[in-house]
């Protein structure tokens, strides 16, 4: 048996908490069997989770690196691995390996800037890590605006944390919206791209976008009409992955591998890639 490190061989992880967020999204808390974080990560990085016999899949790490006790993953039920995870109970062991990919440049490029986070649906999952990182090191960043939309009130991810923590922070503005009118909802109604335009953000900030492809497309157009340059707008991509280290070839787009060169990209960088993501 070889003793050298092998990136494809994972560690065992234990699910210590399962939070039901929306009808199809649950958030899983994961630690190693001895109760520690499996590894350190940076905001925006991902991890491979697997269920032996079912498969392995890449997920964004939704908890902030500033959480030193555990990692969290907000996972939407949409395939084999995710369906199995949604049936898992506390105490279930899974496997975990990572961290993978390039993080958001939170300590250099983002530092000292106003931040505008825009998310749709489960697209909040990868942004929560960077949002909570910025909230933790609050004095390193300027104003923080968060625009978040989903189909309905029930589909808003992390609703409790948003209402109880984010909206109470000083100098953090949360703008929630849902697609259609609904009872017990007196907030904004409408799609994210239009809401961003209505809110009319000034361009003295860095914007970070994540959501369904159609939302990203129209939100970027909205930001461009407000005067934003592509060099000040970031997103994080998702493609099918197997190895996580740029070797299996699956997430290759142009000369880049989303797993190792991404998943975080600036929009001017994406312009250099073929439209295959």
């Amino acid at each position: 048996m070889s003793s050298c490190e092998e990136t494809l061989i994972p560690k065992v992880g234990v699910i210590t908490d399962v939070r039901i967020d929306t009808p199809d999204i649950k958030t899983f808390r994961v630690v190693t069997p001895d109760g520690k974080k499996a590894f350190d990560h940076r905001p925006g990085q991902c991890a491979m989770l697997s269920v032996p016999g079912v498969g392995e899949a890449m997920f964004s790490i939704t908890s902030s690196p500033t959480n030193e006790e555990y990692m969290e993953f907000s996972i939407k039920k949409c395939g084999c691995v995710t369906e199995w995870l949604h049936q898992a109970e506390v105490g279930q062991q899974i496997t975990i390996r990572g961290p993978y990919g390039n993080p958001f440049p939170v300590d250099d490029v983002f530092a000292g800037h106003n931040m505008l986070f825009i998310a749709g649906g489960v697209g909040l999952a990868p942004l929560r890590s960077v949002i909570n990182y910025c909230r933790h090191y609050r004095d390193r960043y300027g104003k923080i605006d968060i625009v978040y939309g989903s189909r309905s009130k029930e589909d808003l991810l992390d609703y409790k944390e948003i209402i109880e923590e984010w909206t109470n922070d000083t100098n953090v503005n949360v703008h929630l919206t849902i697609d259609r009118e609904q009872e017990n909802w007196d907030g904004h109604v409408g799609f994210v791209p239009n809401y961003v335009k209505e809110l009319g953000f000034s361009t003295d900030c860095i914007a970070v976008l994540c959501g369904p492809p159609i939302m990203i497309k129209f939100t970027l157009e909205g930001l461009r009409s407000l005067g934003f340059e592509k060099t000040q707008v970031y997103t994080t991509l998702e493609l099918r992955m197997k190895c996580g280290v740029g070797k299996c070839g699956r997430c290759n787009v142009g000369s880049k591998y989303v797993c190792k060169d991404g998943p975080v990209f600036r929009f001017d960088e994406l312009d250099e890639l073929p439209d295959e993501y």
């Binding site: 032996p52 079912v54 498969g55 109970e89 142009g254």
Partner: protein
Amino acid sequence: MRKCSLDALQALFAHVNASMALYLPVDGSDGKAVYQKWSEGARWSHALNTVRSPKDFFFPQTEDLMKFKTAGKSIEIVDVRNAAEDFVIFGVRACDVKSFEILDRVFLTDPVDSFYASRREHGTIVSVACTRPSETCFCGTFGIDAASPAGDVSCWKTETELFWQANTPKGEAFLQLIAPLTEECGNEAVQAQQEKTAAVMKKLPLAELKADAFGGGKTKEFFDRPEWSELSQACLGCGTCTFVCPTCQCYDIKDFNTGNGVIRFRCWDSCMYSEFTKMAHGNSRLSQKERFRQRFMHKLVYYPENNDGLFSCVGCGRCLSKCPISMNIVKVMKKLGGE
């Protein structure tokens, strides 16, 4: 340089095989050359090359990565990596030797793939210069000289003798091993043989094929070219080209439930398959045109961009002879590069 008589090869193979496993191309029952472990009576094939490339030795078609033992909610991960043993691959052509360098740049860059690295470390490559390159050969397009193959040891075959030259410390050790069965010699016969091969190479139909039009930084120039539709129109998506290709290295990782635990294994995959990029929310390459384009853009543009201009093709010609619709990288290069 050392030499031995071709008649003495069986004794030499037996001598090598006594200290480490020796693999060489032999003619299979269907008359096609395949790499096989040497055993008494196994004859070195006269074929120009094997149907499948020798990439199997370092990147096998399937291999177990790990095992899982599950009990209730618990999982135990079992490392199944074995200490690899020394082995020799004899008879590797110049094109295939080059393919190992191309694979190395994928598997040996950080983080190193320990499965591949271990086999690479333990394998000694004995290449043999080509004497009769065929009409599907175009290694010269990629700067490879069929008459001067690289590898740990290079060999040249004449009518009656085989000449051996070590290129690396591993190769020196191998020549030491076979020293009792070989004798010191000059390189005149080898030079004459190289000249003969060079003369044959010049007359090959693909001798003038150039790759200059391609390379890193040319994504925008080639990606949206209308010719991709026509080129890919008849592609069956069978993936044969990727499986016979010595440089194709895409893989899948899958789990197999044995009934007594789970084995996670790696196997070759192909960008020519629709499942390759299929996700829960959709597919980034919807038609065969996109998949076909990916394969050739990767070999001619993306890979060179990330690897100092090195193309991910060695001109071995396997895809030319094996594609069921006779589509291949040469046709793509001619069409897009301007004949």
